[in-house]
């Protein structure tokens, strides 16, 4: 009797969780489907691809990521160029933001030294730096700096000015979250470590860094997101010769709306993917924090 009831409850539960999953998927799809239907409706009514292309045209563009577009290269090429710029610039932001954040979070003196200048620079939008960076760095690329003047490699497309603005955009979230992470390390953990024989150096490596790690990874996720937005904007400005931002600006000038819209979708997808990768790493290393009671 009891087991039969349990079984029924179990079935009920499975059935319910099945419904729940279907519900989630259906709910997630409703809005996009509505948008696509409205889009297609207007595209057919307007019948002007330079204003609003049909859904099929955009899907067709997305289905051919290796095909050359407007003699500038394929979607893949532009994305690889944009992503390389972001990754290189963001690595710089990490290399400086994390150690500096650790020091500022830990040492009052360093905090007093850096916090005024950081508070002044922080509200200044990275995009505002682009004209300045163009003047300072001209259009020098990473390849030229390392002496490979005539090159077709990716590095030939990584302009120092762009690296600078990506660095600038990514730096603050990384830095500020690291500082926050270090400042929120529980005092009881620091005292425990000291009472168990940890020296200054070990305290830093074995307690402060692991304790701040979840916050640091949050900073990385936000920072990478900002860097990705900044690069798209930077590529749309003069002085740019490639990249997915450049491509959508160029397709705007030639009124190629299907290339433009598909490009926008790819920008969104790559941004989501970058965020997802960092989130995966974060979930791996911060599992203890989410479950802490």
């Amino acid at each position: 009797m009891i087991s039969a009831r349990l079984e029924r409850q179990q079935m009920n539960l499975n059935w319910r969780s099945g419904i729940k999953l279907t519900n989630t998927i259906v709910l997630a799809l409703i809005i996009p489907i509505i948008i696509v239907v409205i889009w297609e409706f207007f595209a057919v009514r307007l019948d002007n691809p330079a204003l609003l292309p049909k859904v099929e045209a955009v899907i067709d563009r997305l289905a051919h990521p290796f095909t050359d577009l407007l003699n500038t290269g394929s979607y893949l090429r532009h994305i690889v160029i944009s992503a390389s710029r972001v990754i290189l610039g963001f690595i710089l932001a990490m290399l400086i933001g994390i150690p500096l954040g650790l020091l500022v979070g830990r040492y009052v003196l360093v905090h007093r030294l850096f916090s005024p200048i950081i508070e002044i620079l922080r509200p200044l939008c990275p995009i505002a730096w682009i004209p300045f960076a163009l003047v300072i760095f001209k259009t020098y690329t990473v390849a030229e700096i390392f002496g490979v003047r005539y090159t077709t490699s990716i590095f030939g497309h990584i302009q120092l000015g762009m690296l600078f603005v990506i660095f600038y955009g990514g730096f603050f979230p990384v830095f500020l979250n690291t500082v926050h992470g270090v400042k929120s390390v529980k005092n009881i953990l620091i005292e425990s470590a000291l009472l168990l024989g940890a020296d200054k150096n070990q305290l830093f490596r074995k307690v402060i860094v692991p304790s701040a790690l979840p916050a640091i990874l949050t900073g990385l996720r936000i920072g990478l997101g900002v860097s990705w937005m900044v690069i798209i904007a930077a590529e749309m400005l003069p002085g740019s010769d490639a990249g997915i931002g450049y491509l959508i600006m160029f397709s705007y000038e030639l009124a190629e709306m299907d290339i433009l819209i598909a490009g926008m979708m790819l920008i969104g997808a790559v941004g989501a993917m970058l965020s997802y990768v960092v989130k995966l790493i974060a979930d791996q290393t911060s599992f203890w924090q989410a479950k802490e009671r």
Binding site: S192, L194, A198, P210, E292
Partner: protein, 255 residues
């Protein structure tokens, strides 16, 4: 031989409104090597403050604390403290929490694990080596904290109400485990509690503290042979005696 000597210490804090709070005033006591000292007293009488001073986490405003006749300045390397609150490293599993102090001494991973395993078995947590603190109950976490402190192998073990949050049965079992460890390892223990029964069961000597300001008003040597029977006449008499002292503190202070 006197091992721990607390000599005329005072500790004042600056309160929120800049007023001076005297947590402890002119407190002195001695502790022999291998003693199991319990400190009981009403809440807020300065028990935690006293342990923090002995551990060297805070500095006394006046007076000295010495171990083996050496006055401690800065952190006390001969002591370790098991805190009143949970203090495990949440990103480390049980074996790595317990092995923390060994890692600080650069002991190889293999030897570290071997030694940590010994303490895991000792506190009865075999099978939980890979568990993380969030997967453990409060009592298990406290046992890990004690094992972690023991693995450091301090001469002086300071415990701040380690069983305060546990139910009576678990509390009694852990008391027995701790006693066995103490007898086995010949350590000096200073154990803070506000539970008279706990103090009587564990201590070779009990210091009773009063509050406002914190000080020791009574030292009671517990001469009951171990294992102690909680229902024996001697146990119950001492229990009533200490209860009366504590009640007197509360009534005189609240007038």
């Amino acid at each position: 031989m006197v091992f721990l000597k607390v000599d005329g210490i005072r500790k004042t804090f600056v309160g929120e409104h800049k007023e001076e709070i005297t947590a402890i005033s002119d407190l002195s006591f001695h502790c022999e090597e291998g003693e199991f000292l319990c400190i009981v007293g009403p809440t807020g009488c300065g028990k935690t403050t006293l342990l923090r001073l002995i551990a060297g986490l805070d500095k006394p405003s006046a007076g000295t604390i010495s171990i083996d006749n050496r006055i401690i300045e800065g952190l006390n390397n001969d002591a370790t403290l098991v805190f009143q609150q949970y203090s495990l490293f949440p990103w480390r599993n049980v074996i790595n929490n317990i092995g923390f102090s060994l890692e600080m001494k650069h002991i190889s991973r293999k030897n570290r694990y071997k030694e940590a395993q010994y303490y895991i078995n000792l506190v009865g947590l075999k099978g939980f080596e890979k568990a993380y603190p969030y997967e453990l109950s409060g009592g298990m976490q406290q046992r890990v904290a004690i094992a972690r402190a023991l693995a450091y192998n301090p001469k002086l073990l300071l415990l701040d109400e380690p069983f305060g949050a546990l139910d009576e049965r678990t509390r009694h079992r852990l008391q027995e485990e701790l006693l066995a460890l103490w007898q086995d390892q010949k350590k000096t223990v200073v154990f803070v509690t506000h539970n008279i029964d706990e103090a009587l069961f564990l201590a070779s000597r009990i210091l009773v503290m009063r509050d406002r300001p914190g000080n020791i008003i009574e030292a009671i040597t517990v001469n009951i042979p171990r294992p102690r029977d909680r229902r024996s006449k001697k146990f119950l008499d001492l229990h009533i005696g200490i209860r009366e002292i504590l009640e007197r503190i509360l009534t005189t202070n609240r007038k």
